[in-house]
């Protein structure tokens, strides 16, 4: 038992402490989080735009026109992105579309953001459609514009219903960034591959990053449920206190 423990400690030291490998791990963690956050921002922006175009087209009685063309574009975007693997999209972005750029953070952000946007668009569209039609009618009847009604009335209510699905998408995005090493980025997965190559130790680095991903996901899950509780505040909780 003691022998095993000593061996474990030595492996741990070799994988994480020697040659200051923990510093490389931290910088890899930074890369993972940076790409996740940037891609999330881009994904949400794209997702909201596409969802608003698609749902307002669905509600419109007269089809066609500029909105019709936009709707078609959005449909193609969602179909292509959801129909091809993330890693292939990343490779195409790096080697074909942005072959002249060496800015891998930009390439990864665009790839993951565009990918995430397609999934988020459908989630957000579902949320918008789930909001009672009477809500937007009430907004419009007060004289608010379509955009104001969306912004102040419909989207806040949609966010509440789609939050669990948004959490899922965020978790998937975080974990999917583990493929960025194919375009030469040094995220935590690349760190583990490197350590394994140098030390011939597989257990420590791979189980180690698995734990890191797991902890990150648990933290995210907690954050999402905290947000859910905050958004649930429409008086139901207060009533119980009275």
């Amino acid at each position: 038992m003691q022998q095993w423990f000593e061996g474990f400690a030595a492996d741990f030291k070799q994988s994480f402490i020697d040659a200051d490998r923990w510093q490389a791990l931290l910088s890899g963690l930074g890369t993972t989080l940076l790409i996740t956050v940037l891609a999330l921002v881009l994904g949400v922006v794209l997702g909201v735009l596409v969802a608003v175009v698609r749902s307002s087209y669905d509600q419109k009685k007269k089809k066609g026109g500029v909105l019709g063309i936009l709707n078609k574009l959005c449909y193609v975007y969602i179909t292509v992105i959801r129909g091809t693997p993330m890693m292939v999209q990343l490779l195409i972005m790096y080697f074909v579309i942005m072959a002249s750029s060496t800015n891998t953070v930009l390439v990864a952000t665009l790839s993951f953001g565009i990918n995430s946007g397609a999934y988020l668009a459908e989630i957000i569209r579902g949320g918008i459609m789930a909001v009672d039609k009477g809500q937007s009618e009430a907004g419009r009847s007060l004289g608010l514009s379509y955009v104001q009604t969306m912004r102040f009335i419909v989207i806040p209510q949609a966010v509440k219903t789609i939050l669990p699905a948004l959490g899922n998408e965020l978790i998937a995005l975080l974990k999917e960034t583990s493929i960025v090493n194919v375009i030469g980025m040094k995220d935590i997965t690349k760190w583990a591959i490197n350590v394994q190559g140098r030390t011939y130790q597989a257990f420590m680095p791979f189980i180690g990053i698995a734990a890191v991903y797991l902890i990150l996901v648990i933290i995210l899950t907690k954050l999402v449920s905290m947000m859910e509780r905050r958004l649930a505040n429409d008086g139901t909780a207060k009533r119980h206190n009275n």
Partner: protein
């Protein structure tokens, strides 16, 4: 310029047709009417006769297939017309209240006037409180819609529309979703509004309200006005057979 007749809403040969791939429904068929400033018009008729559609078309929640709607002289059906601007002057109260569940009562009321830059948040708050006092709900200003009864919700919905200082108020079956004992409190608020000179168009099944408050009653069937008149004329001496059948069923 003093005019003898001060028309606030004028509807000319209105047609509204709903179509989806499976069928076409002609909801409004060639309806024309005028509503004077200060008038209380009650619209009655059997279900499916197009009375709600008619009301919803007046502020373009439904799009007319053809025909014209003039509000204070402006043609709302004109593509160049800024409908949002005119909607500010047309208050609407819905059957299902449609309060915003994620906002307090006060926020429900102040959102539109503040966003549309009619007044500052402080002014809107003050006005909201005055209106809530009028309908006896000033103690619920910070509550959420879910915490109110149906009758209270509808009273809030009315004050929310009043915050925009509309020139006309449209009521789409305002008491139909209420428990019977709450109908009175909403009708009282509406009566008070009518007494204060508000122009109102009310779609309702409350014949008592129509009799007591209406200046004119429109009876609709099959997408058009088949008979109209003062409550006395229409209720005591209906001429059209359809009106007679309908009143025979609802008046006991």
């Amino acid at each position: 310029m003093e005019q003898q007749k001060d028309t606030i809403i004028k509807v000319q040969d209105l047609h509204v047709t709903f179509s989806d791939p499976s069928r076409t429904v002609k909801a409004i068929v060639g309806l024309s009417t005028e509503i004077e400033r200060g008038e209380v018009v009650v619209v009655i008729g059997p279900s499916g006769c197009g009375k709600s559609t008619f009301l919803r078309t007046l502020n373009l929640l439904e799009t007319p297939t053809s025909g014209k709607i003039f509000f204070e002289g402006a043609d709302l059906t004109d593509e160049k017309c800024d409908v949002n601007l005119h909607r500010q002057k047309i208050g609407m109260v819905f059957q299902h209240f449609n309060l915003f569940p994620n906002m307090t009562i006060k926020k429900n009321m102040t959102l539109a006037p503040v966003q549309l830059k009619k007044c500052t948040q402080a002014e809107a708050d003050k006005k909201a409180m005055e209106l809530l006092v009028r309908v006896g709900l000033d103690d619920r200003a910070e509550a959420y819609p879910q915490q109110l009864s149906g009758g209270q919700k509808q009273r809030v919905a009315i004050t929310r529309a009043l915050m925009m200082e509309p020139d006309v108020m449209l009521f789409d079956e305002p008491t139909s979703a209420l428990d019977p004992e709450m109908v009175g409190e909403v009708l009282d608020v509406m009566k008070e509004l009518a007494a204060a000179g508000m122009t109102m168009v009310v779609v309702t099944h409350e014949m008592g309200f129509a009799r007591e408050v209406a200046d004119r009653v429109l009876f609709m069937s099959e997408g058009n006005i088949t008979e109209e008149g003062t409550p006395d004329e229409l209720f005591e001496n209906p001429k059209n057979q359809r009106t007679k059948d309908f009143l025979g069923k609802v008046l006991h």
